[in-house]
């Protein structure tokens, strides 16, 4: 296959700029990602009911028992579901008792399927720890790629990965999807995946550079992308199939995770070709 992907690199950079800008705009307008309670503190109680809840009455009860609590009803194949979230004002255990009390008072017959609660301080701590871990891991990858190739390759790979993370977070923000612990795991997965994709192209580029010493960088990059294109399409396609299976059959718990991965896979494949590679050309032309 011999398609010159780089002919439209300006267009692609413009597209990326728009994507990143709208991601950042959405994130700014909504005050950062919509974090799940794992990262903000608060409680989330999910209950199964034998009949549709009387939401109006429940909300009245909640207003007195646990101010600030919100209830959302849903339904599954054979039963009614209800999830109640509340800000962490008192210890999680006490808050749970209040929520259950409100549910009982509203006349609902229910069983608690899952409960999660933590204070705001711990949420902030988890968020910070996750960020630090991601930052340090990215620095480690940059160092290795810079060592194995050249600094600009490491920088290009990390910029591409950062681009993917920002665009994916933006997409989640626009679609009002919560960033939970599982979504965080999906983000880590896509970072690894995008990095892998970029390195495959860079590796081919390094090999070509040694074989075809007098070729200009631009042609070398174009050749390397073409040579690895079948592999890129196959691997991305296959991984996408696996992730789509997760999205379709994985159930509600895995939905946020699978959705993040689906977006991330597409963006990650795109960025290796259209972000990381042009950066190397741009730098090669100047140096």
């Amino acid at each position: 296959m011999n398609i010159n992907f780089l002919r439209h690199s300006r267009v692609c950079l413009a597209v990326s700029a728009i994507l990143v800008a709208s991601a950042i705009a959405s994130l700014c307008l909504k005050g950062g990602p919509r974090y799940g309670i794992e990262f903000t503190g608060g409680v989330l109680l999910q209950a199964e009911l034998d009949q549709a809840p009387d939401l109006a009455r429940l909300r009245e009860e909640l207003a007195t028992q646990a101010p600030g609590a919100t209830a959302v009803a849903g339904s599954a194949a054979s039963h009614h579901l209800l999830s109640v979230t509340a800000p962490a004002t008192v210890e999680p255990g006490k808050l749970r008792a209040s929520l259950e009390h409100a549910l009982t008072n509203s006349g609902a017959r229910f069983t608690v399927r899952s409960f999660e609660g933590l204070g705001p301080q711990i949420g902030a701590e988890l968020r910070r720890q996750a960020l630090v871990a991601t930052a340090v891991a990215s620095a480690g990858m940059l160092a290795y790629v810079a060592l194995r190739f050249e600094f600009i390759y490491g920088a290009a790979a990390v910029i591409a990965v950062a681009h993917d993370a920002v665009v994916t977070l933006g997409a989640l923000s626009i679609s009002n999807q919560e960033v939970t612990l599982n979504v965080m795991a999906a983000l880590l997965t896509l970072v690894g995946y995008s990095m892998n994709d970029t390195i495959v192209i860079f590796d081919r580029l390094r090999e070509n550079r040694m074989l075809l010493k007098d070729w200009p960088v631009r042609e070398l990059v174009a050749l390397s992308i073409s040579q690895t294109l079948r592999r890129t399409l196959l691997t991305s396609g296959l991984t996408l199939i696996a992730v789509l299976a997760l999205l379709l059959f994985g159930g509600a718990v895995l939905r946020g995770f699978a959705l993040t991965l689906t977006i991330g896979l597409v963006v990650g494949t795109y960025s290796s070709i259209f972000i990381a590679s042009p950066i190397v050309i741009w730098r090669g032309r100047r140096g």
Partner: protein, 429 residues
């Protein structure tokens, strides 16, 4: 080549034996259960230093064990390791009781023993003619290794936990182990008067209403004393830890709590397996269509990789959580990618070379790429493991182990399969 085949079969057999030996441990987010994060704060509201955590942890362990839940664990938690994570798998019958018990302060008291031991709770009453005397209490050791024993003690304590200054295990003169303790000056003076007047009488050390140890007074004890009779260093050490724990004036706060109904956990496992099988089936189909005979090789190495990884996770006693499954997915993606990288190289090279030569140089050239991608990801795994939260660690462990097994299956084993095929005069694809 025969040696390599033997090696691969050996690895596969060992894996299967490991997988058969015990099941993979699943995290509470998959199997259901309850977890609590505890923070011990001193009376002025500040968190306790990490150094004092061991005592608190031991007290919490005793509380959890009192419920008879098997597999419940207590471990340090949080970035600074100054919190405790209590995990109770399965369905917990009475969460509010567990919660209340966890929050109750550890109370340590020493009582004068009036009578005992008795084998059952009704025997002491019979001995007293049906009613305990005024100022008497009935206490038990709880069901330990030697069975429950009951004692009648004086209701008002001789020593309270906050009057203990320190406790530690030491060897005694008879080659056994004992636990020495230090009392505050006031309590020491009181205890000296009491022990002098009551030589031969027994004293029960009680934590949270359960007797830890009963010993006879052999001497006048002022501020320094020793409790003899430990059967091992560990036993003497345990008593010392519990004595110190009783001396720490800490209140335990539950700062994080989660519970998941076991049936919901079972649901997500079932859905996860269905999704996983659908994904694998689709991927294998595409591989077989695209690569023909080589697709069979790829499928075999992918399955072997799954087998090895499962065995390794079991051998490491790892706990599989949802983020861990994310790591598995990336592992699978990279395993497929390694195969595709090699096959594409062979396809390219086969235009100008013989099959055998193309296989040789295909693996050689793809190796550099495979190594780079794997090392990069392994580096990121290492950092995520060091700096990450518990959830992120779960991701890093499955991914890291998966990449190592993949280097073995997708390169070493896959190459072996190709060479074996070539030797039998088969086409590569």
């Amino acid at each position: 080549m025969r040696l390599k085949v033997v090696l691969v079969s050996l690895v596969a057999v060992v894996s299967i034996i490991l997988i058969g030996s015990k099941p993979l441990r699943l995290g509470l987010d998959l199997r259901g259960g309850a977890s609590f994060v505890l923070e011990a704060r001193s009376d002025d509201g500040r968190p306790l230093p990490v150094a004092a955590l061991r005592e608190t942890r031991r007290v919490v362990e005793r509380k959890i064990n009192a419920y008879g839940v098997s597999e419940a664990t207590v471990q340090p938690y949080g970035a600074a390791g100054d919190r405790l994570l209590v995990q109770i798998p399965g369905s917990v019958a009475d969460l509010s009781r567990v919660r209340a018990s966890l929050q109750r302060q550890g109370v340590l008291e020493w009582f004068a023993v009036m009578d005992g031991p008795f084998a059952g709770s009704d025997e002491p009453l019979r001995a007293r003619g049906g009613v305990l005397g005024a100022g008497e209490r009935l206490l038990t050791t709880g069901a330990g290794s030697s069975g429950a024993a009951w004692y009648i003690v004086q209701a008002s304590p001789l020593i309270r936990g906050d009057e203990l200054r320190n406790a530690r295990a030491e060897p005694d003169a008879y080659g056994g182990w004992s636990t020495s303790f230090t009392l505050s000056t006031g309590a020491g003076a009181r205890f000296a008067r009491y022990t002098e007047a009551n030589l031969g009488r027994r004293v029960a050390i009680v934590l949270d209403g359960a007797i830890l140890s009963v010993g006879a007074i052999e001497d006048r004890i002022q501020s320094e004393g020793r409790i003899r009779g430990a059967r091992s260093l560990a036993e003497a050490e345990d008593l010392a830890i519990l004595l110190r724990a009783g001396a720490i004036p800490a209140a335990i706060h539950i700062v994080e709590e989660a519970s998941l109904d076991a049936s919901l956990g079972a649901d997500s496992i079932r859905q996860g397996i269905v999704a996983g099988m659908a994904g694998v089936a689709a991927v294998v189909t595409v591989l077989l269509i695209t690569y023909g005979r080589a697709g069979i090789n790829a499928t075999a190495t992918l399955l072997l990789n799954g087998l090895l990884l499962l065995a390794l996770l079991i051998a490491c006693d790892a706990v599989l959580t949802l983020p861990g499954i994310a790591g598995l997915i990336l592992t699978a993606g990279m395993a497929v990618d390694s195969n595709v990288l090699v096959f594409e190289r062979i396809r390219e090279l086969r235009i100008r070379q013989t099959d055998a030569a193309a296989v040789q140089s295909g693996f050689r050239r793809a190796w550099a790429t495979i190594l780079d991608t794997h090392v990069t990801t392994l580096i990121s795994c290492a950092f995520l493991f060091w700096f990450g939260t518990v959830a992120v660690k779960g991701f890093a462990v499955t991914l890291g182990l998966g990449l190592v097994t993949n280097l073995f299956t997708a390169v070493f084993v896959s190459r072996l399969l190709f060479e074996w095929g070539l030797r039998r005069g088969r086409q590569v694809f």
